[in-house]
């Protein structure tokens, strides 16, 4: 099933063709949501932590230039080389050049949603560089030539049996194997060899600290550390919004991140990198790729507060029942749906509509992004800019004409009720998406207004 070339609604139709699988996907992610709830409930100061994180990030958004300049200065003083990339192409080219300069054609990479956003793997592969993703989930989807379907759990759309098949094909494990221990061990042996032989390692960045020039990478597998410590060249790639002012702010963000993401009190590894070890090179690539533009949109700037915990994906009833690939964007789910239109309005015009605006996303967000309000606002922007189908615009105009006129409204209501009562076939047919899995309401003979006039004014 390839959902990636379809709009969200069509991709969701594909995903829902296997209902037991949808149930499993929903329940798996709901379980993560409930773990998050339990972890959050254990901290009496949970809501204050969210508020503090939100305020710190607001401060960051309003002082972006100064904080980045401070970070660069301190990082350079520490012996880190800082690179600036305006867009994905520049980001990819910088990393390619660093690999070339190291005289190698192979690289190991830990999880980085930024490199997914920039399609780094494709770029490097096209240029003859062999990239191995070292995060287990990322490695699985990489073998399958799929993008990750979730920020934190890249292979959450796959079952054990799917992984067994993939490993059988790529790692030579026994056919039909589904034991997680066995499969993980196979991946571990395979990756260990990779770690030992790669001279260049790329990691993401969870937090870059302006006052120290250092950065923090959070993983549960230790794969970022393994790659970075064994490599001669460590490249860290970050979107510029990853900056925080001070190291003490980690006490807020690290407590929120893992609890929001998986319900753990903290990620297994929270690795602090400040300077290259003797003989090692350390590079940081700081990427804009549309972030300045988003920062300049008053309604949408605070989407840049995101710390990529994926709590909004786990709680989203639509995400859980449509799968990450239905969002055809590096970042899926509610947060992806407010980030993606900034990158390409035309391509992503469907995403803000892949929501019921239930608001659960905004409530779980550890940095208090008003995600569902932004979904609503993106809808307005996209339709005003003409990214809606002409038929929809025409239908909406007609609807507005009827609903703003009491006379037309009453006439349309009467006709509508009449149709449903006397010729239901006009509504109860396969061209009516409502009727596909639901019965129509049974219309009464009189509207409330009719009843009111007859009963109250008589």
């Amino acid at each position: 099933m390839n959902q990636l070339n379809l709009d969200h609604a069509s991709a969701a139709v594909e995903f829902n063709k296997d209902e037991p699988r949808v149930d499993w996907h929903d329940e798996t992610l709901w379980f993560v949501r409930t773990k998050r709830d339990r972890a959050a409930a254990q901290l009496p100061e949970w809501e204050q932590l969210r508020e503090a994180a939100s305020q710190i990030k607001n401060h960051v958004l309003s002082n972006m230039h100064d904080l980045l300049a401070q970070f660069e200065e301190n990082a350079k003083r520490n012996g880190i080389t800082v690179h600036w990339a305006e867009n994905a192409d520049e980001h990819n080219a910088i990393i390619h050049k660093l690999i070339q300069d190291a005289g190698v054609t192979r690289m190991v990479k830990s999880k980085s949603m930024l490199t997914e956003e920039c399609h780094l793997n494709d770029y490097l592969t096209r240029h003859g560089i062999d990239v191995i993703d070292s995060d287990l989930g990322e490695r699985i989807v990489q073998m399958r030539k799929e993008p990750p379907s979730h920020i934190v759990l890249p292979a959450i759309h796959l079952k054990k049996s799917d992984v067994g098949e993939t490993f059988h094909e790529h790692l030579g494990t026994e056919k039909g194997a589904t034991d997680p221990q066995y499969l993980t061990e196979a991946a571990r042996q395979h990756l260990r060899d990779t770690f030992l032989t790669r001279k260049v390692a790329l990691t993401g960045v969870n937090f870059a600290i302006a006052e120290t020039g250092g950065f923090v990478v959070c993983t549960n597998e230790g794969n970022a550390d393994m790659g970075a410590h064994l490599a001669d060249v460590h490249i860290a790639a970050m979107g510029f919004e990853k900056i925080i002012p001070r190291a003490e702010h980690l006490g807020v963000f690290l407590r929120l991140l893992a609890r929001s993401a998986t319900g753990q009190p903290i990620t297994t590894f929270s690795s602090h990198f400040h300077r290259p070890r003797p003989g090692q090179q350390m590079h940081i690539v700081i990427v804009d790729n549309g972030r300045s533009r988003q920062l300049g949109r008053p309604d949408f700037r605070n989407s840049l507060k995101c710390i990529r915990c994926a709590a909004c994906l786990n709680t989203c009833p639509v995400y859980r029942r449509s799968g990450g690939h239905s969002y055809h964007s590096a970042i899926a789910g509610p947060i992806g749906s407010i980030l993606a239109p900034n990158l390409d309005m035309k391509l992503n015009a469907d995403l803000p509509f892949a929501s019921t605006l239930c608001g659960s996303c905004s409530n779980v967000c550890p940095v208090k992004i008003d995600i569902h309000d932004q979904l609503y606002k993106w809808r307005q922007v996209l339709m005003k800019e003409g990214y809606g189908p002409g038929s929809k615009t025409a239908a909406m105009k007609a609807m507005a004409t009827v609903l703003e006129s009491p006379g037309l409204y009453r006439m349309a209501g009467k006709i509508g009720r009449g149709v449903l009562r006397f010729t239901p076939v006009l509504a109860e047919n396969r061209f009516n998406p409502w009727y596909n899995q639901r019965e129509m309401p049974e219309p009464p003979a009189e509207s409330f207004r009719d009843w009111y006039i007859n009963n109250k004014k008589a």
Binding site: H8, A9, A12, V13, F15, N16, E19, V22, D26, E47, P317, V318, R321, S322, P352, F353, A354, T356, L357, C358, G359, S360, S362, Y376, R379, Q380, M383, G388, K392, T393, M396, M399, A400, T401, L403, E404, S405, P406, Y409, G413, G416, R417, N432, P433, W434, N436, Q437, R438, E439, M440, P441, P443, P444, E446, S447, F448, R449, W451, Y452, I453
Partner: protein, 244 residues
Amino acid sequence: MKVGLFIPCYIDQFYTKVAIATLKLLQNVGCQVDYPLQQTCCGQPMANSGYEHLTGGCNENFVRNFAGYDYIVSPSGSCTLHIKHHLHASNESEASAIRSRIYELTEFLTDVVKVSSLKATFPYRVGLHQSCHGQRGLHLSQMSELMAPPFSKPAQLLNLVDGLDLVQLDRRDECCGFGGTFCVTEEAVSAKMGKDRVADHLRHGVNYITGVDVSCLMHLEGILKRANSAVQVKHIAEILTATV
């Protein structure tokens, strides 16, 4: 206390009994209720579809109908929320007054009228569907995502009904998937969400599913009927006025 009754368009047309129950309920608790006859729609169907710029006519009509009331009350969390957040008109001072005076029915009863008893009997097992716009938009109940003490305005009222057995659901405030035009534009996900909500209620052996928004209930009703279920939906106003 002069109350203007706002009956959302689809309730006016398709759920007359819900509007009648709302009117009776408000009168039962001593409100002087008036139903402005030229009202239509809050404009939400266009706005949520990305066409808020086409809702000017609905807004003007709404203000014409509801100017001057002490309170405007509606049996819908969703439409109430829309007015609260998005009503603007040429007479902006009146629009602003309406935004601050509009209440969803249950919050009006608990917060303004401060109802402490009801003459209602409904001896059934009832599941409460927490519609999202009332829940997360109007804060009718404590939201499951936030860490704070529990409360629920609709449940507070349901607990005043004789014989009513309010069940606890596995997912107490998950969206049902109605979502306005979402229910047809994203039919696959919408229907699946509705089926899953219904299943939660059925697992807990309810006789009725109730809620503060008929739109969600209409969606759940459509799914129940397709499955030939004996379980029925009732708007909370119907239960709060029920006599058996």
